[in-house]
């Protein structure tokens, strides 16, 4: 077993060279969603890199506007794609938020509340930790030794149990033996992105210990956020990890490509796919969810105008944006829903329960009639 006591989180100061690479060319203005909303430099990627630099170099005092603007970022990564200097803006913002916490200026009040829930109940909603596995079927038994683990995450455990249940149903259909770990905790994505690195590190450590104790070889997630965190951020914190991580869409697309899924039902609907930032731009998983969608009998698939690496963010912003700026999150969600409507679809599919939540709430608030679902929910239905 590896030594997991080694903690390694990159500080803002370690990004100084990266920030010096910013030629302040301003090309990010073309894609930055928060800039396009506010039309102010401090809301643009370039501005936020400058603010991060000013924060590091103590060139400007930390005003409430500064704190707010460093959080006015969906960390969607569109700037990373556009940047001709190849700057990792998203990681700089993450480190800057941690620096704000170091300087007692973060996170924002609503984010703090979420973090407190996580500290006490290991989920961002403050629901009892003891109820985390309530979604599992009665006959289901957790196992101590778990080579393949289904990591349901907080969203599927508490908000969308149907996603977790569909996953188990599909696994059963395929004869996959996967286990849910009793000690699963929040992956840590909210504190990781609101700057509370210590809390994120504690959660990571606890989850890694659980994986190790169970001899976990492979973890499958249904949440794009958990997927990125487990696959990218845990190794960033603790060095190389022993387990592999797959998103459910990657895992299932292999079965589809080998013709191992026997579809029975049909779903006659026009569907589009919303690329979650954490699955798409952050992890470059674009084809796997499309493979699933395009193989579901009856489903007519249409791409939105902005798709794959150009996809617009749902507005959730790793959840922390939604927590801090609820109305704005729904504004971004609405514009994405409208984009889906423009290509004449009845259902938006997305492989992230956070995107699903924000898009469906945005549609409801704007009174736009459209279904929001997850490809695996439809897949599970066609197995009946």
């Amino acid at each position: 077993m590896q030594n997991i006591s080694r903690e390694k989180t990159k500080l803002l100061s370690e990004y100084e060279r990266e920030m010096l690479c910013c030629t302040t060319c301003g090309f990010c203005r073309a894609v930055c969603p928060t800039f396009n909303h506010f039309k102010q430099e401090s809301a643009n990627a370039r501005g936020k890199v400058l603010l991060s630099y000013g924060l590091l170099k103590n060139e400007i005092p930390i005003t409430p506007r500064m704190t707010e603007r460093l959080h006015t970022c969906l960390t969607c990564g569109k700037c990373n794609v556009k940047c001709p200097s190849g700057i990792d803006v998203v990681e700089i913002i993450k480190a800057a938020r941690a620096e704000l916490v170091n300087k007692n200026a973060g996170p924002l009040p609503d984010q703090k509340l979420v973090d407190r829930h996580i500290q006490t109940e290991y989920n961002p909603f403050g629901k009892p930790a003891a109820k985390r596995l309530e979604w599992t079927p009665k006959a289901y038994k957790t196992s101590r030794n778990a080579e393949t683990v289904y990591f349901a995450g907080c969203m599927a455990s508490y908000w969308y149990p149907e996603i977790a249940q569909a996953t188990l149903k599909i696994f059963e259909h395929l004869g996959v033996k996967a286990t849910i770990l009793k000690n699963e905790r929040c992956c840590g994505i909210p504190p990781l992105w609101d700057g509370q690195i210590n809390l994120a590190t504690e959660l990571a450590k606890s989850n890694i210990e659980t994986f190790h104790a169970s001899n976990t070889q492979l973890i499958v997630t249904t949440c794009a956020g958990c997927y990125r965190t487990l696959k990218i951020d845990y190794p960033k914190m603790f060095g190389k990890v022993d387990y592999r991580v797959m998103h459910i869409t990657e895992f299932l697309s292999e079965f589809i490509n080998e013709n191992k899924i026997k579809f029975k039902g049909k779903i006659e609907k026009a569907a589009t796919y919303h690329d979650p930032c954490h699955l798409g731009r952050h992890m470059s998983v674009y084809e796997a969810p499309r493979t699933i969608i395009q193989n579901i009998p009856g489903l007519k698939f249409r791409e939105m105008e902005n798709n794959k690496k150009d996809a617009e963010c749902c507005g959730g912003g790793a959840g922390v944006f939604r927590t801090a700026f609820a109305n704005l999150a729904l504004t971004f969600g609405k514009s994405r829903v409208e984009e889906a409507k423009r290509v004449g679809t009845e259902v938006i599919l997305t492989s992230c329960p956070m995107c699903m939540l924000n898009l469906s709430q945005a549609a409801r608030k704007a009174q736009i009639k459209i279904e929001v679902s997850d490809p695996i929910l439809l897949l599970a239905k066609t197995l009946e």
């Binding site: 030629t23 302040t24 001709p84």
Partner: protein
Amino acid sequence: MCQHSNVVKMLSKEKLLETLSAITAPDRVSIDSAELYCYSYDASVHMCKPDAVVWPENTEEISRIVKFANEDRIPVIPRGAATGDMGGALAIQGGIIVDLTRMSKIKEVRIEDLQVTVEPGVVFAQLNQELSKYGFFFPPDPGSGDACTIGGMVACNASGLHAVKYGVTRDYVLSLEVVLADGRIIRTGPKVLKTATGYDLTRLFVGSEGTLGIITEITLRIRPLPRHFATAVATFDDLVKAGKAVSRIMESGIVPAALEIMDKLRIQAVNRVMNLALPEAEGTLLIEVDGHPDAINEEINSISKICREEGAVSVVCSDDPKEREKLWAGRKAAYAALIRLYKPQIRPVQALGNDIVVPISKVPSMLKSIQDISRKHEILIATMGHIGDGNLHPTVMIDVTRKEDWEKAKAVATEIYRTAIELGGSIAGEHAIGITRAPFIELEHADLIELWKRIKQAFDPNNIMNPGKIGLDTIPKDPLIFLAYAKYFEGKNKVA
């Protein structure tokens, strides 16, 4: 950082905030240090802090802002996307930055008149996206086209890849609405394709860099979109040979839609950052022709033949639109991509010695001189440019944390500018003058400055409109003034 000389002497910041809020709205004015910090930068190497930023939404608001500023002698700095690399959008003497980004309406598309009327904050790429629905376009195509605004393009007389065939912004501006320094709103002419009535103020405002007034509405001539394209990539083992091929192409009577040159450093950088697989030769020409399919076929073949005769190592032609898109995306990223060639602080500095223009016939001599200057000063210069119109972008690569490197770059810039002028050229093709090139303006126009100053005086007697730009003021005398990186060698900061 910039030390303010004459700013807001009589007026407290609170009064400034209150007045500007009353004219616009409280959430459209800021004097917050974080916001001002962001507005202390543009795409240049300088850093100057303004006193306030305001985001007006219409001409009347701008008129009232300027009137108030004029009464209190506060500098007013109009700002578009701030993608300019000469410091034109910075508050060199403090003052109010007027960010025009919120004025982004395309007001009228009049295809039958071959015209479009826009607010200054409309982004170039968005305008062309709209015009493409009608099969038309606004041709000047700056590298920053996805982000830069039409107002900024007009104020700087911007152009880009396609100027060789389609000309520059100035060639398309028909009429302007402008707020003058005393708050008056004027229109420079009727919205017609030609007029011969008196002095041409429209053309005076194009390239005036915000020193004469704030442009609040622009009427542009538009052109039908070309339907077919062919591209050629020709590589040479010597940059000067590539320059000679260009002269031959131009004298053959063919007018390419784009004719670009990139040296080895640029190609390497673009290959690395954009994942292109262009051959890494000493000199590469990227050539495009557009028009009728039969004509472009013949033209691209002739161009290819000329390149071979001039010693091209390879010539690859294509009419695949995807290849074309990739090629130009690579070309547009060629500046910033240089940054990934060496360690982070070794950066391309576009502002010093860049953007010169010489007659096409003098391009080979200019390229040769650039190479000599590079060797003489032992400084890396990555060259590319719109070679088809004689506009070159030699870019020095320096360690931005070292004072010696900056001094060297300044010496190189001076020599490059002198050489361009000696060859009958100009120090600025399309990036304007701003702060960085103001100290060099007398090299080219010593005899005109006095006349320019009198024009400025007539429009802006109190010198509130974007002061310190184009070399009309006594400052700046040094292109390294208010250098954002100065902290690295003034001992305050060490790079981690």
